[in-house]
C-alpha cells in the first residue's frame, strides 16, 4: 500500500481539477497548488526511503493537508497523502520547530494544564502571554485555542456506568472520544454517550490517548506511529469482539480508518481490525436510521443553523449523515454550507506564518455564516468549530449536541 500511494501519481493526467478545488492555493500564492506540489514535484523528489534527500521545496509546507485534492481527483491520485509523506521527509531533513513538537501533542500539554485549568486558561487568554508565545514559539497570538476543562472526560465518566452490562454484544459500542472531548469539550462526550444510550447501546469508554494525527500532520511520523500503535492495541480487543468503535472527532476517526495506514504506512493487524470497526458517530446513527432502529422521538428545536461538513468528514466518503439526522428534528432548519474549508486544518492555522492564510481560506465560509445571522452553527470537527467560532463570533456545536437537545427537549 505504501508504494501504491506514490505509484498513484502515474495516474495523474494533469487535468487540474485538484487545482480548481484547492482552498489554500486560492488564498495564497505561497502554495502553488496540489498538482504542482503533489504528483509533479514528487517526480523530482528522491524515490528513496524517508529521510533521503531530494528536491523537496518549501512550498510543500503550505499544504494544509485538508485532503480535498484527493477527494476530487477523478483518477484516484492520492495527492494529499503524497504531500504528507513528502513533508515528513522535508522536516526530517530540515528539522522540526519546537512549536510543532508541542502543538502536535495535545494530550501531553493537557497533562500539565488540566490540573491547573483556570490558571492555564487565563494564561492562554492573556494578550501579553499570547504575544510572547508568538514571539518565542511562533503560535499566532490570535489563533483560536480551546479552553482546558478542569476535569477530563475520562475522570467525569468514571462515575458513569451505562445502564445494563448484560446487554448482548450487538448493543455495545466503544466510545473513542479523542483529545478534543477529553481535555476541552467533555460535555460533548457526555452528550454523545447519552445519545448512544438513548438508542439502546451500552457505551464502553476504555482508557485512551492521542491517535497521533497532529504529529502526523506536522511530519513527525515516528512519534505519530508510536501513538497510533498504542491506541490501536488498546482498542483492538473490542474490535475483535465485533464491537463498533464510535467517534465524535472526524479527523481522529479518519486517522484510524485510513490515514495511519495510507500516510504512515502502518499495517499492523490491530490497526486493520480497528479501522474496520471505526465509525463516525453520525455514520453509526444514520445506519440505525436506515434500518429503522433509531429512536426518532425528537422534541422540536426551533432554530435555523448553518452546517459545515469539514474536509476530514468528507474524507470519510460516507456522505452527510449529520444532515440525514438533523433533518429529523422538528423545527430545525439546517442550511448546508457550500464553502470548501474553514482553513484551520488541525494545527495549521495556529502557526504564526499560516494564521492569515487559514483565515483567508475560511473567509467564504465565515461570510456565508455571518450573512445568515444565525445564533448557532454546526460542524463535526473540533478544531474547525473553534476556528469558525473565532472568526464569526457564532457559537458552533457538534451535530450530536443538537440531537441531544432534541431528545431531552429545549430547556
Amino acid at each position: 500500500m505504501t508504494t501504491d500511494i506514490r505509484a498513484s501519481l502515474d495516474h495523474c493526467v494533469k487535468c487540474t481539477i485538484c487545482e480548481t478545488y484547492c482552498p489554500v492555493s486560492a488564498a495564497t500564492p505561497l502554495f502553488p497548488g496540489p498538482k504542482y506540489v503533489g504528483p509533479q514535484a514528487e517526480r523530482f523528489r528522491s524515490a528513496g526511503a524517508p529521510g533521503s534527500s531530494g528536491s523537496v521545496d518549501e512550498s510543500l509546507d503550505y499544504c494544509s493537508g485538508c485532503g480535498i485534492c484527493s477527494q476530487v481527483c477523478p483518477q484516484g491520485v492520492k495527492i494529499a497523502e503524497i504531500n504528507a509523506r513528502a513533508r515528513a521527509r522535508m522536516k526530517a531533513q530540515r528539522g522540526v520547530p519546537l512549536r510543532d513538537r508541542i502543538i502536535a501533542r495535545p494530550s501531553a500539554s493537557a497533562r500539565f494544564a488540566t490540573p491547573v485549568a483556570p490558571l492555564a486558561n487565563r494564561a492562554l487568554a492573556s494578550p501579553v502571554l499570547r504575544y510572547l508565545a508568538e514571539a518565542l514559539m511562533g503560535v499566532h497570538r490570535k489563533a483560536p485555542l480551546p479552553r482546558f476543562a478542569s476535569r477530563t472526560f475520562q475522570t467525569r465518566q468514571r462515575r458513569h456506568s451505562s445502564a445494563d452490562s448484560s446487554l448482548p454484544t450487538s448493543a455495545k459500542v466503544v466510545y473513542f472520544h479523542g483529545c478534543g472531548v477529553n481535555f476541552f469539550e467533555p460535555r460533548l462526550g457526555e452528550m454523545a454517550v447519552a445519545v448512544l444510550e438513548r438508542n439502546g447501546f451500552e457505551v464502553i469508554v476504555p482508557p485512551q490517548d492521542c491517535c497521533g494525527l497532529p504529529l502526523q500532520s506536522n511530519g513527525l511520523f515516528s512519534d505519530a506511529r508510536a501513538y497510533v500503535q498504542r491506541l490501536a492495541s488498546n482498542l483492538a480487543p473490542y474490535a475483535r469482539a465485533g464491537i463498533p468503535i464510535v467517534s465524535t472527532s472526524t479527523s481522529c476517526s479518519l486517522m484510524l480508518k485510513r490515514e495511519a495506514h495510507e500516510i504512515l504506512g502502518e499495517d499492523s493487524e490491530d490497526l486493520a481490525v480497528v479501522s474496520e470497526q471505526m465509525y463516525d458517530i453520525c455514520e453509526l446513527l444514520a445506519g440505525l436510521l436506515g434500518r429503522g432502529e433509531l429512536d426518532t422521538r425528537f422534541q422540536p428545536v426551533s432554530l435555523t443553523i448553518p452546517y459545515h461538513a469539514p474536509c476530514q468528514q468528507r474524507g470519510h466518503g460516507i456522505g452527510s449523515p449529520a444532515l440525514d439526522l438533523l433533518e429529523l428534528i422538528p423545527g430545525l432548519e439546517v442550511i448546508e454550507q457550500d464553502a470548501q474549508c474553514c482553513g484551520i486544518a488541525g494545527t495549521y492555522g495556529l502557526k504564526k506564518e499560516k494564521y492569515d492564510i487559514a483565515m483567508a481560506v475560511g473567509r467564504p465560509l465565515f461570510e456565508s455564516i455571518s450573512e445568515l445571522g444565525a445564533s448557532l452553527a454546526a460542524c463535526d470537527s473540533e478544531t474547525c468549530r473553534w476556528q469558525i467560532a473565532h472568526a464569526t463570533g457564532v457559537p458552533v456545536v457538534h451535530p450530536i449536541e443538537l440531537l441531544h437537545r432534541a431528545y431531552v427537549g429545549e430547556q
Partner: protein, 418 residues
C-alpha cells in the same frame, strides 16, 4: 446510506439528472470517483456541430441525423423533451445567462483560433460568435502559458466562416508579470480579475489600443463567479464589446457552470460524495439493490430504488480499455455495445475521424435501461445517461454536452414518471 436514487458520476449528465430529481422531491445521492469533467470543458452546450460538414442549424439537421443514426442517444430522446431540457438548463444558468438557440449554431473561436460550432454558450463566450465575421482584438498576457493570442489571431484570419463577412483578427499581448506573478495559470488570473485594482491596471494598459468596431476577446479568465460584473466593467471602460475564449484546463467557464449546478443541488437537498468510486454492487431478481464505494477502511453501501450510471465514456473512465483491447463498464460491469471484433484496426490516421471503438458504450431501451447483447433489460431499476451511452461520436459530432444534458434530463424524467 439509503436514497430514492443514487446517481453514479458527477459530470454534466449526472448533475443534471440528480438536480432535476432533487427538484422533483426525490432524495438523491451522487457518488463519484472524483469531480466530473465540467472543469475541463468550455461550458458550451454543443448539440450537433458536424454532420459530417459544419452544421449551421442543429434544429434543421437533427431529424435527418436521428433517422440516419438510429443507435445514437439522440434517437432515444422523445422530441417533446428537447425544449424542456434546454429551458431547464437556461433557468439554472440565470446568474450567468446561457445564450444561443437550436436554430443557429454559434461559431466560437477556440484558444487555437479554430471556429467551433456550438448551439449554446455562456453569455461572455457567446459574445465572441464569428458566424458573421467581424473585427476582433485578442488580448492576453505574455505570462500566461495557456493562451497565445498571436497564434489564435493568425489561425482565425485563415479560418473564415464562409459567409461574405470576413474575420479580421489581431493580437494584443500584455507583457510582464500578472499580479506580481511570472507564471500565473488561468485560475490565478480569474481571481486577479475579481480585484478592482487589477482590472484598472488592465484597462489602463489597453487605453488607446482598441480600434473602432473591434470586439475585444480575452482568454476566459474574466472573474470567477462575478464574471458578468467584470465583463460589463471592462466593456464600459474599454469602450468595446468584450468576450471570452475558453482555454485549456482548468476551464473557468466550466467551473462557473459546475458551481451553478452543484450549489443548486445542495439547495435542493441532494447529497454528493466524491472520492468514492463504486467497487461492487448487489442485485436480486433483476433489480440492483445497492452499490458499494471504497472508503478506505471498509466499503460503504448505498441502497436505493433507482440507480443512474453517468460515469462518462472512455476518456472519463466510465468505460475502461486495457492493452488487450478489452472494454469494461467500470461501475456495474454492464454489457457494452459497439465493441469492435478482434482483429479490427486499432489505429486511425485522423484524430477527429471515426474510430472503430468510438461508439462503444451501453445500449439502452426506451426507458434508458441497460440492455445485454440479446436486447434484454439487465436491471429494471438502472438507467444510463451521458457519455456512457453507446452509439455516439461526440468528439467528431460536437455533441458531448448536448448528449449529457438531454439524456441526463430524460433519465430524470423517466424516474419521475415511474
Amino acid at each position: 446510506m439509503s436514497a430514492d436514487t443514487v446517481v453514479i458520476g458527477a459530470g454534466l449528465a449526472g448533475l443534471t439528472c440528480a438536480l432535476r430529481l432533487a427538484e422533483g422531491g426525490r432524495k438523491v445521492a451522487v457518488v463519484a470517483a472524483g469531480a466530473g469533467s465540467l472543469h475541463l470543458g468550455g461550458a458550451t452546450i454543443d448539440i450537433l456541430g458536424y454532420d459530417p460538414g459544419v452544421v449551421a442549424s442543429p434544429a434543421a439537421v437533427l431529424g435527418p441525423f436521428i433517422r440516419a443514426h438510429p443507435e445514437h442517444p439522440y434517437a432515444q430522446v422523445p422530441p417533446s423533451l428537447w425544449a424542456g431540457a434546454l429551458e431547464w438548463l437556461r433557468a439554472r444558468c440565470e446568474p450567468l445567462p446561457l445564450m444561443g438557440s437550436m436554430d443557429q449554431n454559434l461559431m466560437l473561436p477556440t484558444a487555437a483560433g479554430a471556429l467551433k460550432p456550438s448551439a449554446f454558450a455562456p453569455e461572455s463566450v457567446a459574445a465572441g460568435d464569428l458566424s458573421t465575421g467581424g473585427k476582433v482584438a485578442l488580448v492576453s498576457f505574455s505570462a500566461l502559458k495557456d493562451f497565445y493570442p498571436k497564434l489564435a489571431a493568425a489561425n482565425l484570419n485563415r479560418a473564415q466562416p464562409g459567409s461574405a463577412e470576413r474575420i479580421e483578427a489581431r493580437a494584443i499581448e500584455l507583457l510582464g508579470t500578472v499580479a506580481g506573478e511570472a507564471d500565473p495559470g488561468t485560475l490565478r488570473l480569474a481571481r486577479a480579475f475579481e480585484e478592482a485594482p487589477f482590472r484598472a491596471e488592465v484597462i489602463a494598459r489597453l487605453e488607446g489600443r482598441i480600434e473602432p468596431g473591434e470586439r475585444v476577446g480575452f482568454p476566459a479568465v474574466l472573474g470567477l463567479y462575478r464574471n458578468p460584473e467584470v465583463v460589463a466593467e471592462l466593456a464600459e471602460r474599454i469602450g468595446a464589446a468584450v468576450f471570452e475564449i475558453p482555454t485549456l484546463p482548468p476551464s473557468v467557464p466550466g467551473m462557473r457552470l459546475h458551481a451553478l449546478l452543484s450549489r443548486a443541488l445542495k439547495k435542493a437537498r441532494g447529497r454528493v460524495v466524491l472520492g468514492a468510486p463504486v467497487v461492487s454492487s448487489a442485485s436480486y431478481n433483476g433489480r440492483l439493490q445497492s452499490v458499494s464505494t471504497d472508503t478506505g477502511a471498509r466499503r460503504s453501501s448505498h441502497e436505493a430504488r433507482h440507480f443512474v450510471v453517468a460515469t462518462g465514456g472512455v476518456s472519463a473512465g466510465g468505460v475502461t480499455l486495457d492493452s488487450s483491447w478489452a472494454f469494461k463498464e467500470s461501475a456495474l460491469d454492464l454489457p457494452l455495445d459497439g465493441v469492435p471484433p478482434p482483429g479490427t484496426e486499432r489505429f486511425c490516421p485522423d484524430v477527429f475521424g471515426s474510430h472503430p471503438a468510438s461508439q462503444v458504450g451501453v445500449a439502452v431501451d426506451e426507458e434508458w435501461r441497460p440492455l445485454d447483447a440479446g436486447g434484454r433489460v439487465v436491471y429494471d431499476n438502472v438507467r444510463v445517461c451521458g457519455a456512457t451511452l453507446a452509439g455516439a461520436e461526440p468528439h467528431r459530432e460536437k455533441s458531448g454536452n448536448g448528449i449529457s444534458l438531454v439524456t441526463g434530463y430524460a433519465v430524470a424524467d423517466a424516474i419521475l414518471r415511474s
